[in-house]
Structure formats: C-alpha cells, structure tokens
C-alpha cells in the first residue's frame, strides 16, 4: 500500500496492546487489525485523532508514504 500504517512501533513505545488501544479509541479490534494490515481503504480524521490522542503521537509517527 502506498500509505503504510505502522501502529506496532508506537504500541511498543507506549507499552500498549492492540486490544487496549481498541478500547481507548472506540474502534473494534477487527477494524484495528484491518488498519494495521494495510487492508483499510480510508481512515476518518476522528479515528486518526483518537489514535494519536491514545498513543500521544503525531499522525506522521504512524503513517508513512512509500510512494508506489
């Protein structure tokens, strides 16, 4: 995918599990997996905001443009 979603790094840094993140953000674990595995077509700003708030990071920390 041209845009990579890299949650693992931030999850490790904040010592959080994916399950815990899903609880904090209000997105189902299944959907977070979809996001993590690059299967998502789009992300809502509200979701991105919630993730960044929960992980205390910037969008650029979890999103990467690989430009294919």
């Amino acid at each position: 995918m041209p845009i990579n979603v890299n949650l693992d790094l931030m999850l490790v840094r904040r010592k959080m599990s994916l399950t815990e993140l899903s609880g904090r953000v209000g997105v189902t674990l299944a959907n977070l997996s979809v996001l993590k595995n690059g299967k998502a077509r789009a992300v809502r700003f509200s979701t991105l905001e919630a993730i960044c708030e929960a992980l205390d990071c910037q969008p650029g920390d979890i999103l990467e443009y690989t430009g294919e």
Binding site: V27, N31, L32, V34, L35, K39, A40, R41, A42, V43, R44, T47
Partner: protein, 219 residues
C-alpha cells in the same frame, strides 16, 4: 452503523411473503399433479371443470342479446357467457394440457420471484441490504418479470385464436376481442416497464454494494 430492521413494515412484508410463498408452492404442486394426471391419461371425473376466460367476441346475427347462453352447445367446448370475453369450458385433454403448461410456467415464475424477494427482505432486515448477492437477485426478478409479462398477457390471446377455429355457435359470429387485446397489450407494456424498472434498481444496488464496501473498509 448497521442495525437490524424489525419495523412493522418489515415484519408485515415478511408475513405476506411467507404466505405467498406457501400459496405459490401449493398452487405449483396442484398444477404439476394436474399436468401429470392429464399427460398420464387419468380419467377426470365430470366434476373437474376447467374454465378459462378468453377474449372472444360473440356477435349474434339476430338481435338476441349477448348475454344469452346459446341453445346448442358446440362439441368440445362450452360457451357459458359472453360480453367482452367468453368463459370457455375446456374439456379436451390436449387443450387442458396446453392451458396447464402455460399456468404452470407462470406459477413457477411467481414462485421464483417470491423466493428471491424473501431472500432480499431477509438481508434487508438483518441490516445489510447492500450485500453482493442482492443486485443479482434483483436482476433475476427483473428478467423474470420482463420476459414473462408478455406471456401472461399473450397466452389467452393465442388460446383464443386456437378456439376460434373450433368454436362454432350457430347464429353468431366470433372474433377475437380487439379491445381486450389492447388491454392485454397495455398490460404487456406495464410488465415490460416494471421489469425495466427493477433492472434499473438492480443497477443502483450495484452502486450501493460498492459504496457499502468502501464504507466497511473505512476505519
């Protein structure tokens, strides 16, 4: 958010469609058994009468009035009444077979349509109307309606032309009723329009499926 739709309308529709399904099933079974009996040469008791209204115009040569049942009943068929159409008592086995086949075809179509409708309604009720299968179902319904509308209108006309040769009533001339033919033509037109409309809706559902997919994969 997808939620289940248990509104009164949905429930009433389910109920009606379920009833229609069993009705169609029973009717198809009866027609099939009747057809098999006819082809098998089973003797039908006199009580079993098959009446079919056909668009035949009876014009009496004397000013007798069109409502009178003729005194002499012709062989094979019996004219019961006459206005803009004539109710013919179909006695001959060959005629009955053709009639039963026509009715059976239409009944089968109705059965298939009801089956697809029930499936669609089930998915709508579960909150996922834009599943991948629904456009295909709608398309099937559309083609069935489109193709069989003319059959429904046209077969009585064709049967009438068959009977016209054999139905001879002394003192009267018979013709196929053009008014009724026009009415049948109008009915054909309605069915064709309806079929096209349903096919159009199927196309719109295709779009819906794509939108749903997009929505599902938007986190």
């Amino acid at each position: 958010m997808n939620g289940t739709n248990r509104s009164t309308l949905a429930r009433t529709l389910s109920f009606i469609l379920a009833g229609l399904w069993y009705l169609c099933l029973a009717w198809n079974a009866v027609m099939l058994i009747f057809l098999i009996a006819l082809i098998g040469g089973v003797e039908m008791p006199e009580r079993v009468k098959v009446f079919v209204p056909l668009p035949i115009n009876v014009t009496y040569e004397n000013a007798g009035g069109a409502d009178r049942t003729p005194a002499v009943q012709p062989e094979g068929v019996a004219v019961v009444a006459g206005h803009t159409d004539v109710i013919v008592n179909v006695k001959e086995v060959k005629d009955r077979i053709i009639l039963t086949i026509a009715v059976l075809l239409l009944s089968l179509a109705a059965l298939l349509i009801v089956r697809e409708l029930r499936a669609i309604l089930r998915e709508v009720k579960s909150g996922r109307p834009f599943s991948a299968e629904n456009p295909r179902r709608l398309r099937r319904i559309g083609w069935l309606v489109l193709a069989l509308g003319p059959l429904e209108g046209g077969w009585t006309f064709w049967m009438a032309s068959r009977f016209l040769d054999r139905l001879a009533i002394p003192g009267a001339t018979l013709s196929i009723n053009p008014e009724l033919h026009l009415f049948i033509g109008d009915f054909n037109f309605n069915s064709i329009l309806l079929g096209l409309l349903i096919l159009l809706i199927a196309q719109i559902f295709e779009l819906g499926v794509r939108l749903q997919e997009e929505q599902d994969l938007t986190i």
